[in-house]
Each structure stands twice: as structure tokens, then as C-alpha cells.
């Protein structure tokens, strides 16, 4: 895979097609898990990365074998298998995290991000690209979740990663209504920043192109003048 494509996939996963703030996918765990604290968000993110990477890997490997008619059942079975594996793993080795995330681990099966990437990317792209896509989409999801989790934990519980910072807290942010408000604010801020950066980049690219055109025109004029 070329470095340029790798960069594109990484930027898509983390920024341009950020599943949480740009595509607004995986809303259910975003709203619920961010109320449990930043540690739970990291755990949830890690579980999603595992499922995304491995389901993308297998689906990409089998993309030419799986018939179109049964692709969705096949994807679901593959995704459910990896969700069950990560659920078993967490129950066996990360009991506290497993207890705090509870049913949300099993609900990864129905997370739109996983099926969405399987359907739109892994089933049409080579293995390495698909694995990278899964990895960076997962990282984008984890970062978004953790950022929201940190804000809600600090404001709603006065704590950070489980450690109590101060007694001041605005309990509203730890409650479901606070989740919606925090989510909305994050989407707004992210998209304002994203659009501003994109406009700036476009402007710079247009400026560069105009400059290049001007230079080439000047060069042509100079050549013509020389010839004359």
C-alpha cells in the first residue's frame, strides 16, 4: 500500500469520516458509555477496534467468495463471532471493565460503524487497506468517545480517569440529557473546525494552482518573446 493511500485512510478514519462526529454512527454506545467515565470509553474503543480490524480483515479476505445475496448474513455472523470473542476475553481477563460496560459489549454487534465499514469498504478493498480502515475508524471512534467521556466525567463527576479531582460537579452532564448536550456541542465544534480547516486548505490549493498557472503563462510568454 502506498504511503499516500495510507495517509488518506488514516485521515478519513480519524477526521474526514470520523464515525462519531462526522458520520454520526454508533450513537447508542457514544451516549451511554461516555457517562461511565473515560476508562470505560477507552475499553469500549479498544473492543470496537478489535472487532473492526478483524471483521474487516476476514470480510476483505472473503470478499470475492461471499456471494452478494448472502453478504449481510455472512457479515453479521463474522462480526458477532468477534464480538463474542472480545466479550469472552474481557470477562476472563478484564472483569472490572466487563462489569462496567455490561451489555454494551454485546451491542457492538449492532453498531452501525462495524457493519457500515464491512459493507462500504472491506467488501470492496484489499486486505491491508481494509485492516487500516478498521484500525483508523476504530481509533477515530475511540478518540471521540474518550474526549466526550473526559468532558462528561470532569464536569459531571469532578473526576478524571476515575481519580477524584475536586468536589465541584454539574450532575446534569453525567445524566442522559447531559450526554445529548455534550454530543451536540462536540459535533458542532468538530464540524466548525473541520470546515474552517477544509476551506483554508482549499483556498491554499486554489492559490497554489493560480500561482502555478500564472507562472506557466509567464514562462510561455517569455519563451514566445525569446523566439520572436
Amino acid at each position: 500500500m502506498k504511503l499516500k493511500k495510507f495517509k488518506e485512510i488514516a485521515l478519513d478514519g480519524v477526521v474526514r469520516q470520523n464515525p462519531t462526529f462526522r458520520l454520526v454512527l454508533g450513537t447508542c454506545p457514544t451516549l451511554a458509555v461516555t457517562g461511565m467515565g473515560a476508562v470505560s470509553c477507552l475499553g469500549m474503543g479498544a473492543a470496537v477496534i478489535f472487532v473492526l480490524v478483524f471483521s474487516n480483515l476476514i470480510i476483505s479476505l472473503l470478499r470475492n467468495i461471499i456471494p452478494d445475496k448472502v453478504r449481510i448474513p455472512c457479515f453479521i455472523i463474522i462480526i458477532a463471532t468477534f464480538v463474542t470473542i472480545i466479550s469472552m476475553f474481557m470477562e476472563a481477563f478484564l472483569q472490572e471493565l466487563y462489569a462496567s460496560l455490561g451489555m454494551f459489549i454485546d451491542l457492538i454487534v449492532v453498531n452501525c460503524i462495524i457493519l457500515g465499514r464491512a459493507e462500504s469498504f472491506a467488501s470492496h478493498n484489499p486486505v491491508l487497506d481494509s485492516v487500516c480502515d478498521g484500525l483508523f475508524m476504530g481509533i477515530g471512534f475511540t478518540l471521540s468517545l474518550t474526549l466526550m467521556g473526559i468532558v462528561r466525567e470532569v464536569l459531571g463527576k469532578g473526576a478524571l480517569f476515575g481519580a477524584q479531582l475536586w468536589n465541584f460537579k454539574i450532575e446534569f452532564f453525567a445524566k442522559p440529557a447531559g450526554a445529548f448536550l455534550t454530543y451536540a456541542l462536540f459535533i458542532a465544534i468538530f464540524n466548525v473546525c473541520y470546515n474552517a480547516v477544509e476551506r483554508k486548505l482549499k483556498h491554499q490549493a486554489a492559490h497554489k494552482a493560480a500561482l502555478a498557472e500564472h507562472q506557466s503563462e509567464a514562462a510561455v510568454a517569455a519563451t514566445e518573446a525569446k523566439e520572436a
Binding site: I65, K69, I77, A80, A92, G102
Partner: protein, 484 residues
């Protein structure tokens, strides 16, 4: 070799079974499609030339194969293969990450009872006679005994969110006190993470199991899950009292004495305690005490449900129990030495337990005091949920001399905390003013603006309030009719 068919182990067994069923169904589908395929290849000799011409043309390959059918068979076969591989992968993972019951037990106990050493000679199978209790929707699944004499009871308590349950390990000391508890698992309790992390070392700890334990939800905001935990702890206490012989169990002794008094004739009757001990009247007296004022030292009141309802009144200490059993306001049985002229027997007949049936619910009420048209009535619930209402109901004669409620004051408001129960029960109490015995049904069912029919989230409380009001009106009309 990894035992792929070891179905008795692990948490993914159900998933494996479901997947195998799906695979079996898919194999059946493949066979069926194959049969259809071969049938479609048979030459149709009897078909006339015209029919052949009229038949829709089907795409055929060189040897008469149907590509669509082949594609379908291939699709199903691939799906089956993927299922097989996934099942095998899960079986391997299950083998590697399998958590035994013993491991789960040790994990749950590590925080609340570190260094547990089990008494291997102790039979862990619970005594079936006391392993379930309807009142707690509970069940004891296993009992462990430590070498230090403490018991660890694995008890399930129902009545949680959406009628789900919580299973706990409850440590009961040899001194009949609860030492700690830990959650093993739950069904449907999506807010169980709102139970404080230290609850297993604080809630109920140090409490004597001789008495039923009141709901504790310190620092938690989840009533239903806390109720399931309360029921599980009470289930463990019930088992410890009755099967392990820990602590005092005067209530069970009283029930036993009532059963012995009644003998085989009423052996089929189901005996349940009427909740008379939870609430407090006027901030000082319990309902039991208020009833005792009327009935001279009442200790227990049991509802006996069989062909008809009977009430067993039990008085005094264990050694000197006096029992009177009443059916339809007539004495069915009484212990030796109790006379019909004894004050408490006279009071029992003068202050009966009123039973009301509202749809599928039964509610009970006792008038504990009456003076100048003001009736103090306790609306009582059978079982353990802590709803007890004590209302002061003022009844005045209407134009035809029948009783009409003119004021209601709630002395004890037994709603389970939370909304909309609190608002709706308070609204119900005030809006029943003006009701009469002959119109209380319509009054109660009035769902118009300002009517009393809005009791969302407080159905049982509403039934107790209504029972108390009906009892006061019944008592008033009865006294009016008798000219008292």
C-alpha cells in the same frame, strides 16, 4: 484435544447451540434445493408441443443446469461454511477463556471475603423446603460453608427492573449477622452500575437476620434493582433462619403454631404474613403497635388463602402464644384458654380485616381507631413490599344518612419513593374526598380532568388507599345501621 462438543461448559454454549440449529436448517435448505434441482432436470415426456412452446423459457447451461439455482446453492453452502468456521473458532476461544463456577465464585468473593476456605464436607445443595420464597420471588441456588463457620448463600432475588432479578453471594456469619454481599449476576438490570461500589460492604452489613431487612438504597438512585438486591438478601436470611438454624425466627414459629392449631383441615391454605411492621403511625407507633392497642398485644397477623380468606391473629411471646383464627368475622379456631369474652377477641370481631378485590389485586384494611366520625385506617399489603398506608378519614352522614368522605389525611404515606407514584397517590388521597360507598367505583374510575383515575406508577398504593377509604365508609355505614 480440544473438546468442541463440550456443551456443558462456558458462556457461549447457547450461542453455539443456536448456530448449530441455523447450520442444520441451512443444510436442510441445501438438500431441499438440490432435490428441486434434480427434479427440474427430469425430461417431461408427456408435455405436448403446444405446452412446451407456451412454457416460459428458462436460462439453461450446456448440460441443462439452472445458473440461478446453482448460485443459490453456492450462496447457502458458503454461509454454512462460514457458520462452521465461526462455531469452531468460538469453541476454541470458549475452551481457552472458559470461567468455571468456582472461578466466578472466588472472583465475586475476593473483594468481600478474601481468603475464603470452604468446608469440603458441607453439602452445597440447598434444602429444597426452604430454597424458594414467593414473597421475595427468590431462590437459593447453592450454599457454601467456610472453615470458620460462616455461610455464603447464593441467593436470587426477583422484583427488579422489568421483573428481572439479581443473584448475590451473601455472607452470613455464625452470629446470624450479615457480613457482606457481592453480585454474581443479574437479569435485565441495566442500571446495576448505579449501585455504589462499596454497597456490598455497607448495605445490610451487621444486621441481624432474625428480622426482615428493610429496603436499603443508600447512595443509589435505582429503586427496582435495589429492591431485587433487598429481596435476594432477605431470601438468604430466610434460608439461613429456616434451613441453617441461624438467628431467631419468631415469625416462622408463629406460623408453625397456627398450622398446628388448624391441623389437616386447612393444610392446603397458603399462609402469608400481612405487612404490619414496616410503617410508623404518628412518628412513634408501628402499625403492629397501633393494632396491638386495639387488640391487646398483637404480634403477627397472617392471611390464610384457600377456599376462602381467613386471618390468624397471634399474640404474645413464643412460650405463651395465643392464636385466634377468624373467617367471615367468626372464630374458626383458638388456642386453649382463650375465651370469647377476652378483650382482644371482642376487639378482633369489632375491628375485622376488610378484604377488597380490585381486578386481580386484593387489598386489606383495618380500622384501628374511630371517634366522632374520624377513622384511623391502615391499608395493608400482603408480602414484603413496604407499602403501608395509614389514613385518618373523616366520614360524615350524607343527606340519606349514608357515610360520605369529608376529609382525608395521610398519616403514613407508604409509596415507594419516586415519581409519578408520589404525586399520583397524593392526588388520589385528596380527590377521594366526597366519595360514598355506593359510588366509590365510579368515583375511583373517573378518568376525566380532576378525576381519581390517574394512578400511573402507583397501582398497588392506590388499591391500599382505596381499601382504607372503603373500610372507613363500611364501618360508618355499619355503625349507622346499628344505631351506634
Amino acid at each position: 484435544m480440544i473438546d468442541l462438543l463440550s456443551l456443558s461448559r462456558g458462556g457461549s454454549v447457547a450461542l453455539l447451540v443456536v448456530m448449530l440449529v441455523i447450520v442444520a436448517a441451512q443444510i436442510g435448505l441445501v438438500v431441499w434445493l438440490a432435490v428441486l434441482h434434480f427434479k427440474s432436470r427430469k425430461p417431461v415426456a408427456a408435455t405436448s408441443a403446444n405446452e412446451t412452446a407456451a412454457a416460459p423459457s428458462q436460462p439453461k447451461t450446456g448440460k441443462g443446469k439452472n445458473p440461478a439455482l446453482i448460485a443459490s446453492v453456492k450462496a447457502v453452502a458458503i454461509l454454512v461454511c462460514i457458520c462452521f468456521v465461526c462455531v469452531a473458532l468460538l469453541a476454541v476461544c470458549n475452551e481457552l477463556m472458559y470461567i468455571s463456577d468456582e472461578e466466578r465464585f472466588n472472583r465475586s468473593l475476593s473483594k468481600i471475603y478474601p481468603g475464603f476456605q470452604g468446608d469440603s464436607s458441607f453439602d452445597q445443595t440447598p434444602d429444597s423446603q426452604f430454597a424458594t420464597n414467593h414473597a421475595y420471588k427468590g431462590q437459593v441456588k447453592k450454599v457454601y460453608k467456610s472453615t470458620t463457620g460462616d455461610y455464603i448463600i447464593e441467593a436470587l432475588g426477583g422484583g427488579g427492573f422489568q421483573d428481572g432479578s439479581v443473584t448475590l453471594y451473601v455472607v452470613v456469619g455464625a452470629d446470624a449477622k450479615i457480613k457482606a454481599w457481592a453480585v454474581k449476576e443479574n437479569v435485565g438490570q441495566s442500571y446495576i452500575d448505579r449501585i455504589p461500589g462499596n454497597a456490598g460492604n455497607t448495605w445490610y452489613v451487621g444486621e441481624d437476620i432474625s428480622n426482615e431487612l428493610a429496603l436499603n438504597m443508600t447512595g443509589a438512585t435505582v429503586v427496582a434493582t435495589s429492591t431485587a438486591i433487598n429481596n435476594a438478601v432477605n431470601m438468604a436470611s430466610y434460608y439461613a433462619r429456616n434451613a441453617l438454624g441461624l438467628g431467631e425466627n419468631p415469625e416462622a414459629d408463629a406460623q408453625k403454631a397456627v398450622a398446628e392449631l388448624l391441623g389437616d383441615q386447612y393444610a392446603d391454605y397458603k399462609m402469608t404474613s400481612v405487612n404490619i411492621s414496616r410503617a410508623t403511625v404518628d412518628g412513634s407507633k408501628g402499625v403492629a403497635e397501633a393494632l396491638s392497642d386495639v387488640n391487646n398485644g398483637l404480634s403477627y397477623l397472617f392471611l390464610m388463602q384457600g377456599e376462602a380468606n381467613m386471618f390468624a391473629y397471634v399474640y404474645g411471646a413464643k412460650e405463651t402464644l395465643k392464636i385466634v383464627v377468624v373467617k367471615d368475622n367468626a372464630i374458626v379456631a383458638k388456642t386453649e384458654g382463650v375465651s370469647d369474652t377476652d378483650e382482644f377477641v371482642v376487639n378482633i370481631l369489632a375491628n375485622p380485616v376488610y378484604t377488597f378485590t380490585f381486578g386481580s389485586y386484593q387489598a386489606y384494611a383495618i380500622v384501628t381507631e374511630s371517634a366522632d366520625g374520624v377513622y384511623t385506617v391502615a391499608g395493608l399489603k400482603v408480602g414484603v413490599t413496604p407499602n403501608t398506608y395509614v389514613l385518618k378519614i373523616t366520614v360524615q352522614p350524607d343527606t340519606d344518612g349514608k357515610g360520605k368522605v369529608s376529609a382525608i389525611e395521610a398519616t403514613v404515606n407508604g409509596y415507594v419513593p419516586g415519581e409519578p407514584a408520589e404525586t399520583n397517590t397524593n392526588k388520589l388521597i385528596t380527590s377521594l374526598v366526597g366519595a360514598r360507598l355506593d359510588n366509590i367505583d365510579a368515583w375511583y374510575n373517573d378518568k376525566t380532568e380532576g378525576g381519581t383515575g390517574f394512578v400511573t406508577g402507583a397501582t398497588q398504593s392506590a388499591n391500599l388507599i382505596r381499601a382504607a377509604v372503603q373500610a372507613a365508609l363500611t364501618a360508618f355505614d355499619a355503625s349507622s345501621a346499628s344505631g351506634n
